[in-house]
């Protein structure tokens, strides 16, 4: 096409402005449940924290019928998931396909030993991070009770988690990551759209997050790339590439999906630290300081 340079420059500027104003973003706004982002390895380690029925240290097998939690505490999810169609979607570890994570052998040995000191917790460092009401870092595990709200103001995608009132602001304006001396539980996220997929690049983690019950820590060299793909009017497919060169020999990927909740479901406050007695229950009261 024979466009003059001036017109071409204006066209590029116009496109950039429209994108920054949010008008060019595909719309995924709304409230969703999250499913399937469970990074369960093929040969998971022995874990005294594991609440499942196979762990002699859990209460699931007791003859008096007392389980880890009464079933109803997952039933908030029945309200959140009412009317959602059953879906067969990509979930769990998808790369490597055999779900044997590419641990560096010495780091795998260290974390297996770390787990054995979590119950009883040898010290503060060995207490599960989500028992401390710490920010969650990455999406992890199943969560039947707490929805996610996606908002799209101009130039950003914002995700609000009910869980521990967490929020992530993903800027789309092409800014660089913050400097290396700023470390964050949630990392620093920047994003861009490719068609119907939002790609989010996150760095600057602080090395104080867990990935799962079996992976109790990830390092501060962690770098993630997430893909949120609008699959249909009610579903977002999700995949995260987890690249932690301190712990693993190469990156690996976990998948899951988000599904819209029924109309009328609202966000509820989940204040965590305010009502938590966990550290005192585990260790006793800390000595008075004066």
């Amino acid at each position: 096409m024979l466009l003059s340079n001036d017109v071409r420059v204006v066209a590029v500027l116009f496109a950039a402005v429209v994108a920054a104003s949010g008008q060019a973003q595909p719309d995924l706004q709304g409230m969703y449940t999250r499913s399937g982002v469970v990074g369960l390895e093929a040969q998971p380690p022995e874990n005294p924290i594991d609440p499942s029925g196979k762990n002699p240290l859990s209460v699931s097998n007791r003859g008096d019928g007392l389980g880890p939690y009464p079933g109803i505490f997952g039933q908030g999810g029945t309200v959140l998931r009412a009317g959602q169609a059953r879906q067969q979607r990509r979930t769990g570890i998808v790369d490597p396909e055999d779900r044997k994570l590419p641990w560096k052998p010495e780091e795998d040995a260290k974390r297996r030993d770390f787990l054995l000191h979590m119950n009883p917790a040898a010290d503060l460092r060995h207490v599960e991070l989500n028992a401390r009401c710490a920010l969650p870092g990455l999406f992890q595990g199943e969560d039947g009770n707490n929805p996610y709200q996606f908002l799209q103001p101009p130039g950003a995608v914002v995700i609000l988690y009910d869980y521990n009132h967490t929020s992530r602001v993903i800027h789309l304006d092409g800014r660089p990551h913050v400097g290396p001396d700023i470390r964050l539980f949630m990392g620093d996220s920047i994003g861009h759209w490719e068609g119907n997929t939002l790609i989010v690049d996150t760095t600057n983690f602080n090395g104080r997050i867990a990935y799962s019950r079996e992976i109790p820590y990830l390092s501060d060299q962690l770098h993630t790339v997430e893909r949120f793909t609008i699959a249909d009017a009610n579903t977002i497919d999700y995949e995260v590439t987890i690249d932690d060169p301190v712990l693993f020999t190469k990156p690996w990927k976990v998948a899951g999906y988000f599904t819209r909740v029924p109309k009328g479901v609202e966000s509820l406050e989940f204040a965590c630290a305010e009502g938590s007695q966990t550290l005192v229950n585990i260790f006793g009261k800390p000595p008075e300081r004066r």
Partner: protein, 129 residues
């Protein structure tokens, strides 16, 4: 504790738990100290991350101890229809649970039943309001 860990060594097959986002019970509460009390509700607190129910329990010595039972997340209860004032003070209940490792009159509540056998804070029995 170490002896129990040795038992756990044989072939664990982990199962995904629906509530993986919530922290583990096992580090905080003692599976070897189950408790079962009969008493009167003094307070129900719908606070996150745990709802709490406070129960006056008369011990064998006749003294009344106010037990604190930790329940699950109140947001789940609210979404199921349990409003914040659902259980009046003075309600008589039977509660089972596991005592906190700290040894206080604090426990993780498992089942709460009324004298007529109805279960409190159970999915099927939120009162219509």
């Amino acid at each position: 504790m170490r002896k129990v860990l040795a038992l756990a060594a044989a072939g664990l097959l982990l199962v995904v738990v629906r509530l993986a986002a919530h922290h583990a019970f096992a580090a905080e509460f003692d599976v070897n100290q189950p408790v079962k009390v009969h008493g009167t509700v003094t307070k129900v607190e719908f606070v996150n991350p745990h709802a709490w129910i406070y129960v006056d329990v008369k011990g064998d010595d006749g003294k009344i101890v106010n037990w604190h039972f930790e329940l699950g997340p109140p947001n789940a209860l609210f979404r199921l229809g349990w409003k914040k004032d659902a259980v009046p003070e003075g309600t008589v209940v039977d509660i089972t649970g596991f005592r906190a490792k700290s040894g206080e009159a604090v426990a993780n509540g498992r089942s709460i039943t009324l004298p007529d056998g109805r279960e409190l804070f159970s999915g099927g029995s939120a009162p219509k309001q």
